[in-house]
Amino acid sequence: MQDRTLGLISMIPEIGQISLALALCLAAALAVFPLAGAHAGNVRWMEAGRPCALGMLAFVALAFAMLAVSFLRHDFSVQYVALHSNLKLPAMYRFAAIWGAHEGSLVLWQLILSSWTAAVALASRSLPPTLRARVLGVLGLISIGFLLFILLTSNPFLRLFPAAADGADLNPLLQDPALAIHPPLLYMGYVGLAVPFAFAIAALLGGRLDRRWARWTRPWTTAAWMFLTVGIALGSWWAYYELGWGGWWFWDPVENASFMPWLAGTALIHTLAVTERRGLFGNTTLLLAIAAFGLSLLGTFLVRSGVLVSVHAFASDPARGLFILVFLAIVMGGALLLYAFRNVAANPQTGFKLVSRESALLVNTVLLSAATVLVLFGTLYPLALDALDMGKISVGPPYFNLVFILPMLPLLLVVGAGMHASWKATNTAAWGRKLRVPAAVAILGVIVLTAAAYGFAGILTGIGMLAGLWVIAAALRDPVAWLLRRGPRPGRSAWGMQLAHCGLGVTTLGIVVVSAWGVETDRRLALGENLEVSGYEFQLERIEEVEGPNYQAAQGVVRVSRNGRPVTTLYPQKRVYEVQQSPMTEAGIDAGWRHDLFVALGEPLGEEAWSVRVQVKPLVRFIWLGALIMGLGGLLAISDRRYRMASPKEDES
């Protein structure tokens, strides 16, 4: 029997449920009044946007808090909690379990969408009232869709009667610090792309697209892109150390689902720059803004509908898939029809010369779009074949690696050169002089790295390294020139741009080097036996039993030495979580600038031996370090003063 005096506390899930319903009402008001007001010229209706947006955030936050309390209090009368938590689950993971499965991750999604909406409402005072009203209205429409989705198909507050005595526990794969913060970051990016989308629709509705519009849209786009970049990197890092086999990218549909919006978003950032500076590429910018958010929705559909995930993952539900598909069709169909019939992009009065920054950015847009389409095609092709009754096949990493390199290699070469081209027309001689030093540094770098550190590993590897070093050197040219007092001080957005490009080069270098010179060995290793990999001796000294809060583990003690001198000791674990009884591999990693030493336990082979996977991964950290630098570049670019100015101020970068 429930104690009646518990009163309010026992109603926590219902309070959450009601909050969601109230948030839906406010989302409806947010969609109707500002849009109708902008159409009819009614200022008071337009002004309703801000309070509605803030109110919606308040109620969604309340619902989220109620779900959090249910998890922290072990309220197993809530079905979602009973399915994804456990009495022994540490508090941190009980909180992270909120977004550990479908229903709760949607609440998180909506919380982030509401936060972005509220941020737009608060930070858009300098915008024309009609544009602001339309942007908020469109965000309200999207919120209606997601709140309906939660309330109709994915209610996290459903009660379980009778309440469970204990929960079924969170998926052990998700009991990891990186994965606890990965979804929020990724969603910040995913959902943040709704803001440029809303700006694009507002421009289409208003029939006006100009350079000021691009200036207002840019910081929001960069912010979303920044989160997406770091979120994807974090996911890749997690896969590297948690899945236990040291890969860092698998071209898995779920990964692609986050990567496609990133590619489109990256293209969008660049066309926005052209639209802001030169008033060109307006139509492309609008289409990319629509596509980037569309790909976010598509990713949600793919992950949530079960169309592409393994048939063994029953987190999927056809009713949910159908809802998102209809939502996707309405949102994207509406947006694209609007795009087709409202020709708003101002006719450019000015053109640009063949050798100019515009040309470079045009090539950039084409190549990034091509990469997006090729990845999209590879992700959906198996699906289309199945739909046409042509059998079930899957397109694996070989396809993706090939079709991704094709546009990316030329792109990297263009990036380095394009950064230093001037708008409109470039003085070819001056341009060449600027590029001389970076080109020399890149070529020298490849020769030194090949000769001194790694050895020759094929033409393609050489070209890849050259591309990475070239982008780094070109990106650092201006900052270095400034430090040596031979050039002007770059503005913040220029700094940000250069830093982000430098990050791209660092990631590229990491990918190329680790792909070419990474060493992987799977071996049977008896206790006390030595294994030599890349000059390091790995000795499995002993296996010991370790007890965690909610798991038991066999832990290997692996001594690593080089030329007889001890380097480090690694502790790879094989964990079995008590409730779900699933074995998890926790790799032992010695991370370093030069390389990672990676040991993962496989299976016990008899009494005194284990199968062991040993890897030496040169420069693997560069992959994620580069992504962090890219994100930092984005942050720096957003902080540029001119985005906070009411009136346009002319050129810096």
């Binding site: 399915l83 079924a168 998926n171 139509n283 289409l287 629509i290 596509a291 569309g294 598509l298 559909f301 509908s305 079960g306 169309v307 393994s310 048939v311 063994h312 029953f314 999927s316 539900d317 056809p318 898939g321 159908l322 598909l325 996707l328 069709a329 994207m332 169909g333 694209l336 029809l337 795009y339 087709a340 019939f341 020709n343 959906l380 699906l383 289309a384 199945d386 739909a387 779900q580 009884q581 699933s582």
Partner: protein
């Protein structure tokens, strides 16, 4: 002049057309979702199988060994997390004497036996379909799934995913009780 303008519009409609094609394919794929389509087996005779019995090494379990009357076949495996979710409920069914049989699908028998030892065995008999061959005949997409076969040996219903009280009392119970009379 006007024709040039129209051409521009057609180009702008291309993304919309691409979206329509994509949504069409998604719609078709969704229709193929194992949960949405009723099994083609429904209304037909249950597919024959003759497989080793999990807990009685050396003996064989086939359709002839099923007792008279309606019965249920639960597809499960020790690697399947959905099976853990439904297991408590299956145990309750087993205790109540429900005619529940198991098909251990694509699993290692040793793991399966250990799994049952840990959680209890709700089944009257369990067929071992280690390579999933019988699963193909039954049109199994994944585990867990539960089939309902009536007294005449006709497949009447198939549930995909963990079985629970709600689904059981709505879809399974009427047939099971009807057959008992």
């Amino acid at each position: 002049m006007s024709s040039g303008r129209r051409r521009v519009r057609w180009i702008l409609l291309l993304p919309c057309a691409a979206l329509a094609v994509m949504v069409y394919f998604f719609g078709v794929s969704l229709g193929r979702d194992p949960g949405l389509v009723p099994s083609p087996l429904i209304g037909r005779a249950a597919p024959e199988f003759s497989l080793p019995e999990l807990l009685a090494p050396g003996s064989v379990f086939s359709l002839q060994d099923v007792e008279e009357g309606p019965w249920m076949l639960n597809i499960w495996a020790s690697w399947c997390s959905g099976c853990i979710v439904e297991h408590e409920f299956l145990m309750a069914l087993g205790r109540a004497g429900a005619p529940l049989y198991g098909l251990n699908w694509k699993d290692a028998p040793a793991d399966a036996r250990e799994w049952l030892q840990l959680r209890g065995n709700p089944y009257r008999a369990i067929a071992v379909d280690a390579n999933g061959r019988a699963g193909i005949d039954w049109g199994v997409y994944g585990a867990p799934e539960t089939f309902l076969i009536d007294a005449k040996g006709i497949v009447r219903y198939r549930h995909v995913g963990p079985l629970d009280e709600a689904v059981f009392s709505q879809a399974f119970l009427p047939v099971l009780e009807g057959g008992a009379q």
